[in-house]
């Protein structure tokens, strides 16, 4: 038997290895083939809806027509899960890619899934789905062997047909094998996975499955689903976090034609069939408010974080810091800051709920349909099996749709109103209730010996959490200390919700670390690429740095060279990434123009190369925002940025030339691709600004005002 080529990583990213997975699934593996038409699948055991599936059957259905349906609890928010999972299944089952369908994010049809985040779809669930398909193939071949009266070893599968290797007339299709039967079979031991070398679909670009629907307007998002009689709800909101609406006078709204006022616990909502008329009714509600006691704003937050963050814990260490200090010829200390950043997906949080025969169905824009189902059931006091969450296309998530408050609101209002209720947040509600990427303070003290080696690294991050904090350079004496995480908001550290934002915490941590590495390189008088290579032993990190340099056409030069070149690297979601950028700085205005970026990524096996490139480009482009402009302003609990007029996200005119390259490593397990490249953006641009001007900027975003301050400082020195 061919040993499995792809196994989930054991690289500390939390992925299971194969043995752990099999021990979870137990030895009694079986696959059932049924005749039920797609997408109905009464075979999904209730247990599979509640926790991680232990039954491969939960992921696959093979119809009598030979078509295969894959069921995964992930969602499609543009990242391409809809396209890459069928690739894995088609390759492993030996069926044409076009004969594989996929159902995503439906809690009644798909096996339980924690949610779509952490770039885990392919790297964690991918091997599970592959194993399911491999199991199915093995069972089907065994069935064919019986039917054809031939030894299984003499058979091969081509395009869903099992046939004799020597006599192609002896053949039977998957569809014929499953027709009219329900079969349960047990396989002893792990199913044989195909080696990557014989795969014909995985590793090659597959056309996006969502393309036609998305360019023709047929693609449905949660806000496009309209059950008969559905009403829009607009909900009375407090003006600030910490403020309380004590009374809502809804008389004037209620008098408007077609308006219903519904109260459900603490929710007061105006309902109307037309959204703009619901808006008008909401404006007619007079609220009495107790103001917020919060006095923080985007400037005072950093001192507050330093003061109030928990003592934290050390997440990585080695050697003795005192030894490092003794051995250091030069010590460089610096504090780095980063503000709150909004997710700002173009689709605001949307949901519609409908109660039918005692079952509540909620269509929601969410990254976590299964946890959301549980939360909804609890909120409306229904048994979990009486709630179904369906996730249509999600119009951008980036971590911000990991909660689902709008779906709970829609569910509660539906129960209270007795009609289907739609909740589509206004843009200002989206900003107000966003769980921001937290503000962060990062303090680094590092030391160099006389030969350009880093001998001391003392790192403390406050607010951003652990991801991306630990450094990967070969430093004998180091410590990484983390105070407060990127979610949870323990002890009211932050004035509003915080949560996962594309590579949570890593954007702040990599900005600080890679800026500081650059500072050290300049102090040592060594080119920043050479300095990194000199201080690294990690082969894969060196590999991506060299690949990015080759793609960029980088030539070494020490100090602030005036060319405007910057470098940054890191690891995220199991993937190694390095970027090199060129910028121009307008010294009269402080405006930064990013001219081009070369980005190299080592993500092991690349399942869908063009899909992975799209994610890299998306990361680099989106990352321009937190790097150049994005910083949520707030005061007294109110979020001051309420729309795209004042909160500037990347536009066409900002986008540089992007060159992406993969370090080919197809025999290594596939790793995450939706997040890694974004982590390099802050530092690669800040380092390029230093190279262009000599100004070292230590606070994100690199606004024009901060660039001007940096330039003034250079002139003074």
């Amino acid at each position: 038997m061919t040993p499995p080529t792809i196994v989930p990583g054991t690289d500390g990213t939390g992925a299971m290895d194969r043995r752990e997975f099999l021990s979870l699934t137990g030895s009694g593996l079986f696959i059932a083939f049924t005749m039920h038409p797609r997408p109905t699948r009464p075979e999904l055991p209730a247990a599979a809806q509640q926790r991680a599936a232990t039954d491969f059957n939960a992921f696959l259905h093979i119809g009598a027509d030979g078509r295969v349906t894959t069921y995964v609890g992930k969602i499609e928010m543009g990242q391409g899960a809809m396209t890459s999972f069928p690739q894995l299944v088609a390759d492993e089952l030996n069926v044409p890619l076009a004969s594989v369908d996929i159902v995503l994010g439906d809690t009644d049809l798909c096996p339980f899934d924690m949610g779509t985040f952490g770039s885990l779809s392919v790297r964690q669930l991918g091997p599970v789905v592959r194993a399911a398909a491999a199991e199915a193939r093995a069972v089907l071949v065994a069935m064919a062997a019986e039917k054809l009266q031939l030894p299984a070893a003499s058979l091969e599968v081509k395009d869903g047909v099992v046939q004799s290797r020597t006599d192609a007339s002896k053949r039977v299709s998957y569809g014929e094998l499953t027709a009219g039967k329900r079969i349960e079979r047990h396989l002893e031991g792990p199913p044989p996975l195909e080696p990557v070398s014989v795969m014909t679909i995985v590793g090659r670009t597959a056309a996006r499955r969502d393309a036609i629907e998305k360019v023709t307007g047929k693609a449905k998002y949660a806000g496009d689903i309209v059950p008969a009689g559905a009403l829009h709800a607009r909900i009375v909101r407090p003006p600030a976090h910490g403020a309380v609406v004590t009374k809502s006078d809804t008389a004037a709204a209620e008098a408007m034609p077609g308006v219903r006022v519904v109260r459900a616990g603490d929710l007061v909502a105006v309902l109307h069939a037309h959204r703009d008329e619901a808006d008008k009714a909401l404006r007619a509600v007079k609220s009495t408010v107790t103001p917020s006691a919060n006095i923080l704003n985007e400037r005072s937050i950093f001192a507050h974080l330093e003061q109030k963050a928990p003592a934290g814990n050390t997440v990585a260490s080695g050697g003795q810091l005192a030894e490092g200090e003794k051995g250091a010829k030069t010590i460089v200390e610096q504090t780095y800051l980063k503000g709150y950043v909004a997710h700002a997906p173009l689709e605001t949080h949307s949901a519609v709920a409908e109660m039918n025969d005692g079952k509540l169905t909620v269509w929601a824009s969410t990254q976590t349909p299964f946890p959301l189902k549980t939360a909804i059931a609890r909120a409306v006091n229904l048994a979990p099996e009486k709630v179904r969450v369906i996730t249509p296309y999600v119009g951008g998530g980036f971590g911000g749709k990991s909660a689902g408050a709008q779906a709970i609101e829609a569910a509660r209002l539906t129960m209270a109103a007795g009609v289907p209720v739609r909740v589509v947040w206004e843009r200002d509600e989206e900003f107000f209730y966003d769980t921001f990427d937290p503000a962060a303070v990062i303090k680094i003290k590092a030391g160099l010996d006389g030969a350009g080696k880093i001998v001391l690294w003392d790192y403390t991050v406050i607010g951003a959490g652990e991801r991306g904090a630990a450094q990967g350079y070969a430093v004998a004496n180091h410590r990484t200390h983390v105070r407060g995480g990127w979610s949870g908001n323990t002890g009211e550290l932050h004035p509003f919700g915080i949560g996962p934002w594309r590579a949570p915490g890593a954007n702040a941590n990599v900005f600080a670390r890679e800026s500081h590495i650059d500072l050290l390189a300049a102090k040592a008088g060594i080119d920043p690429l050479e300095f990194r290579l000199k201080n690294l032993t990690d082969v894969r990190m060196k590999g991506v740095l060299q690949a990015a340099a080759a793609k960029f056409g980088y030539t070494p030069k020490a100090g602030s060279s005036g060319r405007g070149y910057g470098i940054a690297c890191g690891t995220d979601a199991g993937t190694w990434v390095a970027s090199i950028a060129e910028v121009k700085v307008d010294k009269a205005t402080g405006a930064i123009e990013v001219v081009r970026i070369a980005c190299a990524q080592d993500m092991g096996l690349v399942v869908n190369p063009d899909g992975a490139r799209q994610q890299m480009e998306g990361c680099l482009t989106m990352g321009l925002g937190y790097t150049l402009t994005e910083e949520v302003r707030f005061a007294n609990g109110a979020v001051l940025d309420k729309n795209f007029g004042s909160y500037a996200i990347p536009r066409f005119s900002w986008v540089p030339k992007l060159d992406t390259v993969f370090v080919d490593n197809p025999d290594k397990p596939p790793q995450g691709g939706g997040e890694p490249a974004i982590i390099t953006m802050g530092a690669v641009v800040a380092n390029a600004v230093f190279d262009a001007t000599g100004a070292r900027l230590t606070q994100l975003p690199l606004t024009r005002a901060r660039v001007m301050q940096g330039l003034a400082k250079v002139r003074r020195e």
Binding site: M77, G78, Q79, G80, A207, R208, D210, A211, I212, E213, K214, V215, T216, G217, K218, A219, K220, Y221, G223, D224, V226, H232, A273, H274, R275, D276, E277, K280, A344, P345, L346, E347, T348, Y393, V394, G395, G396, G397, F398, V424, E426, R427, D610, Q614, E617, G618, C619, L620, T621, M622, N643, F644, G645, I649, P650, R651, F652, S653, V655, L658
Partner: protein, 158 residues
């Protein structure tokens, strides 16, 4: 209340509406046309873009009564049956989208651009599309797609 008549994707329509209704919500809520999306409500993002007499407008800030007697095309009406418009085909070919939420507005914005400027440079495309926001970062591919669509359309295809 006012009754207005117009064509929507080629079909005659008549609605009786309050004078202050917005085109976006009349299209979505009264007529079930969900291609135009709500993104910002302030004409800042472009997700709600539709064509009125072949000009792109932001439906979220357009009074519905202003379209009386006019021709409205939404993303649903751009293809000729199963035949994609060259801009749609180019968006498919170049994967000029990710989540797809801004895509209807992007494509209609591009339509409007190419009508005025059939042979735009990349810089011109970037400038003309600058008020259309995409959060996923598909910008480079959207520009690729518009560039290709321009070439295809100049070649006589419509």
């Amino acid at each position: 209340m006012k009754t207005i008549s117009f064509t929507l994707n080629g079909a005659p329509r008549k609605v009786t509406i309050e004078d202050d209704r917005m085109l976006l919500w009349v299209l979505r809520d009264d007529l079930g046309t969900t291609g135009p999306k709500y993104g910002c409500g302030r004409a800042l993002c472009g997700s709600c873009t539709v064509l009125v007499n072949d000009e792109s407008v932001r439906a979220c800030m357009t009074r519905a009564t202003s379209i009386d007697g006019k021709s409205i095309v939404t993303i649903e009406g751009l293809a000729a049956g199963d035949q994609l418009h060259p801009i749609q085909a180019a968006f498919v070919k170049h994967a000029g989208f990710q989540c797809g939420f801004c895509t209807p507005g992007m494509i209609l914005g591009a339509y409007s651009l190419l009508k005025k400027t059939p042979k735009p440079t990349r810089a011109h495309i970037a400038q003309a599309m600058d008020r259309h926001l995409c959060r996923c970062g598909a910008h480079v591919r959207i520009v690729d797609a518009i560039e290709e669509a321009a070439a295809v359309m100049a070649g006589g295809a419509k």
